[in-house]
């Protein structure tokens, strides 16, 4: 068969297959274009989840007649003025999106250049372009995509349900909206009520900071829980700046889906983020739970290659270790500084559970909320007859309530300590709290004296693939600090000579393989630390005050004071809170005083 140059239509359809694999991808490209054009307001309309119509209008800079005609041509872009792929500041840079969309749909663009008297229109249908003609539009650009994939029926078959496609499109818009709180976004679907409506906000002199505005925008997208329980991050390292928000560990999820990274304003997916977040939270969260984080990384364009993924969803860092270190360090610092913030979510859940009750003659409780009454009855009934399980102690001296966790007033069910604070009350789970204290002390001990190492009588040779072996050997110093001494052993193996004595007789091969995987995937050796900490955790659990032990007032107050002095004491090792705080205002709400 003869070799020939493919016609432009075919080339564009091939490119379209990579750039727009579903309606959400087209929506993302069009919204990015609007953002690049300096829009303040972006409106998206979707019919049938975007399959029959995607309409994106903006109030940005617009295009003149020549530009409109060029915009739909392949590799035509206004965004690489110096042909310099090393300094990309815009979301688009390849000039591929519009021709790709045009190749597989009925595309029309109307645009009016800022300050110009007229608007112009161009249309592309299945790859063939119409002539530019005058049109009517008050400002900005309006891009209409009808019947996406009508020209490539195979692709059409792969679309999911209208609902799934719509949700994916909304997701794409929201992701971009997180990074641009000063732009207003609306998304309207088949229903009358908009799917998304976010107003624009600017930092102002009245005291709203850029942080406040971002927090509000993230709250609108991720939920108020996040806005209320996230720690602001701001850290700088060698030309990179990391800002954004880290959720408190108590606000955790079963998957890592709610972890977002934006690099120079571009939403990206990066394994590096998952590893760094896991490393930063490993002390305060169980291994199978995931925190919520939204991070914005800004750095020199020359150190970040954005041209690595067809949908521009991934980037490559020149120095990934630097970025990882920046993220881990910034998150850790924020978490350590926030050691004492109990989640307001927990307090709110507590309030919701504590519905007012009506006592019946038989002693059973009837809550005003019927569902709760059923659940509560078996617990409440015996309580009404038996003597109260709380042991009150003398009223606290006023000075003691000045401590953040207040002065102990009573122990309930020999499990919970109730303390009065300057502005409310605190309930402490004594076992969880003490376990955390013991664990932190053991960790400090290991940090102070180093990990003791058992030398192996029979060194273990662990076969790995050569890249893994090299990576592991390169980390030998770091691993030795954690008690694991190994070195390269030929090209495809390492030999382990010493192991942390704390682990006892352990599966050395398995450990080395896990570590190799982690170093490759996440850039760090987490599981060794995790295993050591797991042993500490088990010992801590056995060595701490159990639920069911009576504590006197001095013991309770001592526990409260130690908690105040210990970092991370607000959560137990598994990310559950060790105490809940109710402010006076919240208590008043309970009784309808507010």
């Amino acid at each position: 068969m003869a070799i020939r140059q493919l016609p432009a239509i075919v080339v564009n359809r091939i490119a379209a297959g990579e750039v727009v694999e579903r309606p959400a991808a087209a929506v993302k490209e069009l919204v990015e274009n609007a953002i690049d054009a300096g829009a303040r307001r972006i409106e998206v309309t979707l019919r049938d989840g975007g399959a029959s119509l995607i309409l994106v209008s903006d109030d940005g800079d617009g295009m003149d007649a020549v530009e409109v005609a060029l915009a739909v041509e392949r590799h035509c872009t206004s965004k690489l003025p110096d042909d310099d792929l090393l300094h990309i500041r815009t979301l688009g840079f390849r000039g591929e999106a519009l021709p790709s969309i045009g190749a597989v749909s009925r595309l029309s663009i109307v645009s009016r250049k800022r300050g110009a008297a007229d608007a112009f229109k161009v249309a592309v249908e299945g790859g063939s372009k119409s002539a530019v003609e005058p049109a009517a539009l008050s400002q900005g650009t309006r891009v209409e995509v009808r019947d996406l994939f009508y020209a490539t029926p195979a692709r059409l078959k792969f679309l999911k349900s209208v609902r799934a496609e719509r949700d994916a499109a909304v997701d794409a818009v929201e992701r971009l909206a997180m990074a641009y709180p000063s732009i207003a976004f609306t998304v309207v679907g088949d229903e009358e009520k908009p799917l998304v409506r976010m107003t624009a906000a600017e930092p102002d002199l009245a005291g709203k900071s850029a942080d406040d505005i971002r927090r509000a925008r993230l709250g609108a997208i991720l939920g108020r829980d996040f806005a209320d329980n996230a720690l602001a991050i701001d850290a700088v390292r060698e030309g990179f700046r990391l800002t954004g928000f880290a959720g408190l560990p108590i606000l955790n999820r079963a998957t890592a889906r709610d972890q977002y990274l934006f690099v120079n304003g571009r939403p990206v997916r990066d394994k590096l983020l998952a590893g760094a977040v896991r490393g930063a939270y490993q002390d305060v969260l169980a291994r199978d739970r995931h925190p919520m984080v939204v991070l914005f990384l800004d750095g020199p364009e020359a150190d970040i290659d954005v041209n690595v993924h067809p949908a521009k969803a991934e980037v490559r860092f020149r120095d990934a270790a630097l970025v990882r270190g920046l993220i881990v360090g910034a998150l850790r610092n924020a978490l350590a500084a926030a050691g004492h913030r109990a989640s307001t979510t927990v307090a709110e859940q507590a309030l919701a559970a504590a519905r007012p009750m009506v006592w019946t003659q038989g002693g059973a409780a009837l809550a005003l909320n019927p569902g709760f009454a059923e659940a509560a009855a078996p617990y409440q009934a015996p309580l009404a007859q038996s003597p109260p399980a709380a042991r009150a102690v003398e009223a606290p001296a006023p000075a003691a309530t000045a401590h953040p966790l207040g002065a102990a007033c009573a122990q309930l069910h020999e499990t919970y300590i109730v303390a009065q604070t300057a502005d409310g009350l605190v309930i402490v789970d004594q076992h969880a709290a003490h376990e955390r204290l013991v664990y932190e002390r053991m960790k400090a001990e290991i940090a102070a004296t180093g990990v003791k190492r058992q030398i192996l009588l029979i060194p273990e040779v662990v076969e790995l693939d050569p890249a893994d072996a090299a990576r592991l050997a390169a980390r030998a110093t770091e691993l030795a600090e954690l008690g694991l001494v190994l070195e390269a052993f030929g090209p495809g193996a390492v030999v382990v000579r010493e192991v942390p004595a704390l682990l006892g007789e352990t599966d050395v091969k398995g450990l080395a393989r896990d570590l190799a995987d982690e170093v490759a995937e996440l850039g760090g050796a987490l599981s060794l630390k995790e295993r050591l900490e797991e042993v500490c955790g088990t010992i801590a659990c056995h060595g701490s005050v159990r639920a069911g032990r009576r504590l006197n007032q001095a013991e309770m107050n001592a526990l409260l004071r130690q908690m105040e002095a210990t970092p991370h004491s607000g959560q137990c090792n598994h990310g559950r809170p060790t105490y809940v705080a109710l402010s006076r205002a919240e208590i008043e709400k309970l009784f309808g005083r507010r």
Binding site: E445, K452, I455, L456, L457, A501, L502, E505, D507, I539
Partner: protein, 373 residues
């Protein structure tokens, strides 16, 4: 099958076989014990597919035959019968049930057919020798503590039994190691053992064998192939076990030969001091440091949380001073095995294997790897 047996004899035999039966079984018949009557005897046997234990007791009654019944149930019933009782076992005509009668008690037990019970064949055990119960006991006791429990290194999960030459004398050797320490015990090679393959006897079989050795002090007939080993105590009790299918490491390489720093301690007082000093270390690893100089040993341990401990004891030592750390648990495991008064530590430096021996008995040898403290 219809047999009468002394309760005491039945209880003892059941005691041997039922410990092989796992409490939880996915194959129902493996919860049972196989009973076979023949020639004035009742043979009881149980297996977990890796180990088979057979124990025979005298029984009166003519009819031969066999069945299987739940092992733990039969054991518990027998245990609760009064001392001196006679037990009558009778298999029903449809073979679905066995009746047990003793005094005024009657039990019927559900049976599974004897033909379905897995039996380990022992016809191919080509190597045979006899060893005294006392010698076998010593081979096990001196090495058993060092067996690895880490299942990924299955080939270390047992005692390596093999023939070897020490100073040109043929020896039977038992070796065990967990990769941190090693124990080796040897005895003159019994007749018939020459040419035997090196075999790894799994930990569970070692445990069962050791229990039997507490009850028998006669000679034990050992037969083995490269897949199975059998220990027969007279004609009453026979333990057969599969061997671990793996290669034991070339352990000779880790036994140091050039160590020159010799420390001699009084074993009991050394062990007591190690035990005392290690009380202070809070961690699981319980490290102790040995600072040794001319005729003096200072044991010490520190814990940032609990404080420090140290104790000085008199020793014999004339080499250059050395500081070396060990896991105290490992030290105690070894000193426990030393029966003589003195123990001898032969060291090179703080990062190389140390040799430990009974000062007066050369048959056992221990190698211990130091800890970095």
């Amino acid at each position: 099958m219809k047999l009468t047996i002394e309760r005491a004899a039945l209880l003892k035999a059941l005691g041997h076989v039922q410990s092989v039966v796992e409490r939880r079984n996915t194959i129902p018949i493996l919860s049972n014990v196989l009973l076979r009557g023949a020639d004035g005897k009742l043979a009881l046997s149980a297996t977990d597919m890796d180990i088979e234990m057979i124990s025979a007791v005298p029984a009166q009654g003519a009819k031969t035959g066999g069945t299987t019944v739940p092992a733990h149930t039969l054991y518990d019933i027998t245990r609760k019968l009064p001392e001196g009782a006679q037990v009558l076992l009778e298999l029903g005509s449809d073979k679905g049930q066995m009746t047990l009668r003793s005094g005024r008690s009657t039990f019927t037990l559900a049976c599974l057919p004897a033909e379905d019970y897995p039996v380990m064949s022992g016809s191919d055990l080509a190597h045979n020798f006899t060893i005294s119960a006392a010698d076998l006991k010593r081979l096990i006791d001196r090495t058993r503590f060092a067996i690895s429990t880490e299942e990924t290194r299955y080939y270390l999960n047992g005692i390596y039994l093999h023939a070897a030459k020490s100073n040109d004398v043929n020896m039977l050797r038992a070796v065990a190691t967990d990769g941190h320490r090693l124990a080796r015990m040897e005895l003159p090679l019994p007749d018939g053992a020459a040419g035997m393959p090196g075999v790894i006897v799994p930990r569970k079989a070692v445990g069962e064998l050791r229990k039997l050795l507490d009850e028998f002090d006669q000679d034990v007939a050992v037969s083995l192939s490269d897949t199975k080993i059998r220990f027969a105590f007279g004609d009453s009790t026979v333990l057969t076990s599969k061997l671990i299918d793996g290669t034991f490491p070339d352990y000779d390489r880790v036994i140091p030969t050039g160590n020159d720093k010799v420390l001699e301690v009084e074993c009991k007082s050394f062990a007591a001091a190690v035990d005392r000093v290690s009380t202070i270390s809070s961690e699981k690893s319980r490290a102790v440091k040995l600072a040794i100089e001319r005729n003096s040993l200072t044991l010490s341990a520190t814990s940032p949380e609990n404080g420090t401990a140290s104790e000085e004891i008199e020793v014999r030592y004339s080499a250059s001073p050395i500081e070396i750390g060990f896991n105290s648990r490992y030290l105690l495991d070894i000193t426990e095995q030393i029966e003589g008064e003195g123990a001898k530590f032969v060291m090179a430096d703080a990062a190389s294997p140390t040799l430990v021996r009974d000062a007066t008995d050369g048959s056992a040898l221990y190698v211990l790897m130091p800890m970095r403290v």
